[in-house]
Each structure stands twice: as structure tokens, then as C-alpha cells.
């Protein structure tokens, strides 16, 4: 599926907050990064590592202090480029997106994005229904107030609000924060579904290694405004020591593999999921018997 065409490209992007005051802070330092079409990318980093700032550069909400951001080869801060179109093509779901719900009914709220795009009534209706279906909100809830829903449902409605704009790239900032394990699994499954069935490029920002390791095919680790690691999860999680030094943990199962290895078992270290680990351990035990 991924024919390796660059969809978003960052060239030497730096960002300074409050430049020229005593509160000046360099949030991004000279970042070079390419996101390819159809990828499922995870961005991970400690609080204050610059991941949220980076995310807001992808769709032009923040303008780099220096450097350029290209979408399909075009500078998104060029005068002739319509920011609205860019933001529609690159959908961004903020942390706790349910805090931005405001309409009287769920249907109206999801329709806000498509309406701003100037679509016809029919098209809007179709898109709203489609995206609510994707996130698992049934038609019986359409006319309810979004404030009557449970936390997990609210979040799904908010995500549908961005999905309804039919973006080519979908960026999600901590989409599972504050949800119970079931709500978390549901949301992650829906995101994966979006990736697989619609072929949308997904960028998932998170600090939960376990969440990310299972789904993404590429992992970018941010540290102090810089890209510390960039590779497949298996490659990245080999650097246990370095990751711990910058305040991140690898999935627990990876730790287990390291401990087994230390005790003399011949196990691979790049195991990321429980299912994989079960297989590895089974084969080990089988051989030793």
C-alpha cells in the first residue's frame, strides 16, 4: 500500500516560544522529518519533549520560527496555499477532544467541520453518518446532546468530527488519555480500522509505549525538541538504556525478554506483544524439554 511517497516533509524546522522575552523557550530544534503516504507513525516523548508542538506544525496551526513544512511538496505557509484546505487534508484531533464539543446535537457537532468546508446539505449528512458509523455511534444518538454522553462516547463523537472532513492524514494527540482499558482498546481499534480500510496516513502521539508498540509501523522518539530515535518499534525498543535515560520505558514484555536473556535463555530481545512473547517462551520451553 505504501508506495513511499512523501506526504508531509519537515525541513530544518525550529520553533521558539515567546521569542525575545525572558520566557523564551526552544521547543523544536532543527527537525528534519518525512511522513510517507499510508504510514502508521507513532510519536512518543516525555512531557515537554516537543511532541505537541511538532504535531501543530504538521497542519500549519503553528508556524516554524525557521525552516519549512511541505505537504505533498508544497510549502504550507506559502501565501497562495489555503490554510483551510491544508487543515481539512491533515486532520488534527487534540488531547481531550471532547472538550471542544459545543453544538446542541451530536449530528450538528460532527457537521461543524464539513459545514466549514462549504459542502452541500446532502454531502454533509452523508459524511456525518459515515464517520459516526466508523466510530461506533448509532443513529439513535444523533439528536441527543453531546453533553449527555459518557466520556468514551464523547471522545468518539469528537474524533468523528475530524474524520467527517475526510482527511488524508489524521493526527491524534493522546487519543486514549483518561479512558478505561475497554474504551482505550475500542478507540485504538477504530483508529486501526481507519488506517486499514480507508488507507489514511495516521500519526499517533502518545506516551504509552504499550499502546503504540502494538499498532504503529514506525516510531519517532522525541527528546528535548529533537528526534532521538526513528525506526520500526522493534529497532527503537532495542535501545532500552537510552530510552530510560530520557525518561521513557519500553513495553513491559520487552523488559521480561531482557531479564530472560540475562538468565541464560536464548530469546530475541525485540518482542513487543504478549502473543509474540507466549510463542517465544513456548518454543524455548519446548526445546529445553
Amino acid at each position: 500500500m505504501s508506495a513511499k511517497t512523501k506526504i508531509i516533509e519537515l525541513n530544518k524546522v525550529s520553533h521558539l516560544y515567546s521569542a525575545g522575552t525572558p520566557f523564551e523557550k526552544e521547543a523544536l530544534k532543527d527537525i528534519n522529518l518525512s511522513i510517507y503516504q499510508g504510514e502508521f507513525v507513532g510519536i512518543i516523548g516525555h512531557t515537554g519533549s516537543g511532541k505537541s508542538t511538532l504535531m501543530q506544525h504538521f497542519n500549519g496551526l503553528l508556524k516554524p520560527t525557521s525552516g519549512t513544512v511541505l505537504f505533498k511538496g508544497k510549502d504550507i505557509h506559502h501565501e497562495e496555499v489555503n490554510k483551510k484546505t491544508i487543515r481539512q487534508k491533515i486532520g488534527l484531533v487534540f488531547q481531550y477532544p471532547e472538550h471542544q464539543l459545543f453544538e446542541m446535537t451530536i449530528f450538528e457537532d460532527v457537521a461543524f467541520g464539513p459545514k466549514n468546508m462549504g459542502l452541500s446539505e446532502e454531502e454533509i449528512k452523508q459524511r456525518v453518518e459515515e464517520s459516526l458509523k466508523i466510530v461506533g455511534i448509532g443513529p439513535e444518538l444523533y439528536e441527543k446532546s453531546p453533553f449527555e454522553l459518557s466520556g468514551g462516547q464523547k471522545r468518539r463523537v469528537a474524533i468523528a468530527g475530524v474524520v467527517a472532513m475526510q482527511p488524508e492524514v489524521l493526527i491524534l494527540d493522546e487519543p486514549t488519555a483518561g479512558l478505561d482499558p475497554r474504551g482505550r482498546d475500542e478507540i485504538l481499534a477504530e483508529i486501526q480500522n481507519l488506517h486499514e480500510t480507508l488507507g489514511i496516513t495516521i500519526i499517533l502521539v502518545s506516551h504509552s509505549m504499550e499502546d503504540i508498540a502494538r499498532f504503529v509501523d514506525r516510531l519517532i522518539v522525541m527528546h528535548r525538541g529533537d528526534v532521538a530515535f526513528d525506526g520500526t518499534p522493534k529497532e527503537v525498543f532495542l535501545h532500552v538504556k537510552e530510552l530510560e535515560q530520557i525518561g521513557l520505558a519500553v513495553p513491559q514484555i520487552t523488559y521480561l525478554m531482557h531479564q530472560l536473556k540475562a538468565r541464560g535463555f536464548n530469546v530475541p530481545l525485540d518482542v513487543l506483544t504478549i502473543e509474540e512473547a507466549v510463542q517465544v517462551i513456548r518454543s524455548q520451553v519446548g526445546i529445553q524439554k
Binding site: S18, R87, G91, H99, G161
Partner: protein
Amino acid sequence: MLRNITIGQYYPVDSYIHNLDPRVKIMGTFVYIISLFLVPNFIGYGIVLLFLWMLIRISKVPFSYIVRGLKSIIMILIFTLGLNVFLTPGEHVLFQWKFIQVTGEGIYIALFMGVRLILLIMGSSLLTLTTSPIQLTDGIENLLSPFKKIGVPSHEIAMMMTIALRFIPILLEETDKIMKAQMARGADFESGGFIKRAKSLIPILIPLFISAFRRADELALAMEARCYRGGENRTRLKQLAMKKEDYKAIVIIGSLVIALVLLRMV
């Protein structure tokens, strides 16, 4: 975008003025403002200006920050100047058109008032620039505590001020986030006529109100969970205590007042 707004505008550096007791600074600012009204002529303003310039140098706050505070009163300043210039009666008439006349006295009084206003704002902005909001409310609480006997709830007033001040940056950040989230959904706050723009604020204001109520609720609950019950018998982490420097500061501000009083008598 909203990061540029500085309310409370504390300028965090370490200086003699920053380290003064907030009570001294609050009372000092009061005395300074009163002394401005004692000034009889422009020589007096010269003395005050010199005094203020000295304080600003000691406080290590860049001069541009102090001047920035003047922006907010520019309309009042123009209004005051205008009224005084055009409406002061006097003998030296420079210009007359129907009932409007410009007199020499008018210009003198306008300048006099203008300088007073500018010095007033510059002096009081030095207080907020060198005192953190927490210190400020601590100082106010302490200064108000003698009035407790006549039923002034000084602790509650200070607590409300502290919470209100604490919530300003939180709500600004929240507004910024909601604006960005709605912009990501294609909202447009900048184009269109007055009504369209006012309408475009709804997607910001409703979530903002909801979140303000939610936060207030959460805070009240958290305070109750920790058995908060007002000012009675509470001790503080940072006790206010007068130091040698504070007494020096009182002497310095006192000498300004004395100098101005002497000037008035001469």
C-alpha cells in the same frame, strides 16, 4: 497567539526590589501615588522621575516593559489632555473658536496632569512587575487582617484573588487550545462582518464556559477533600517577615515624601 498577552505581568528576575516584603511594596506604592498629588510643580516631577528611574534600574526590569504598561491608558491620557487643553479658562488665550478656547494655563495644566498620570501608571506597574501574584495577595491579606474585627473577610478575599489570578493563565491556555481545535475543524475567526465574527465565537465560548465550570467544580471538591475551611488558625508555608532591607526601603520612600513636602512649602 494568546501567549503574548501578559496579565499579572510578573517579570521574574532576582533583584533588591523583587525581594522586598510585599507589604512594604504595596504600602510604598500607595505612598508614592499620594506623593504624586503633593507635587507642586515640574521640579517636583523631576525629583519623582529621578526616584522612579532609580527604582527601575535597581529592579532590573527592562524599561520597555514599564513603557508597555502605558499602552493601556493611552485613550484615557488623550481624553484627559484634550479636556484640559480645550476646557480650561484662563487669561492667555492662544486660540478661540466659538466656546472652545485654548489657553496657556490649559496647556500647562494638561501637561501637568499628563505627566502625573504617566508617572502613576509607571510606578504602579513596577509593583506588579516585581511582585508575583501570590506574594501580592499574601501582602493584601496581611494588610487587611486588622479589619477582620469589623467583619472584613480578609483571608477569603485574598483566597478568591489568588484563585482568580491563578485561573487567568489556565483559561488563556484553554482558549488557545479550543481555538486551535476549532481551527483544525475549519473554523474561521478572522474574516467576515461583525455578526459573522460574533457568531464564530460560539464554538469557542461554549466549550470555554463548560470547562471553566468543570474546573471550578473540581477545585471546590479538591479543597473540600482536604478539609479547607477558611482562614481560622491556618499557618503559612512562607511567613511574611520584615528584614533590614525592608526598613531601608521605608526610609527611602519616606525621604521622597519629605522632599516633596519641603518643595511644596518653599
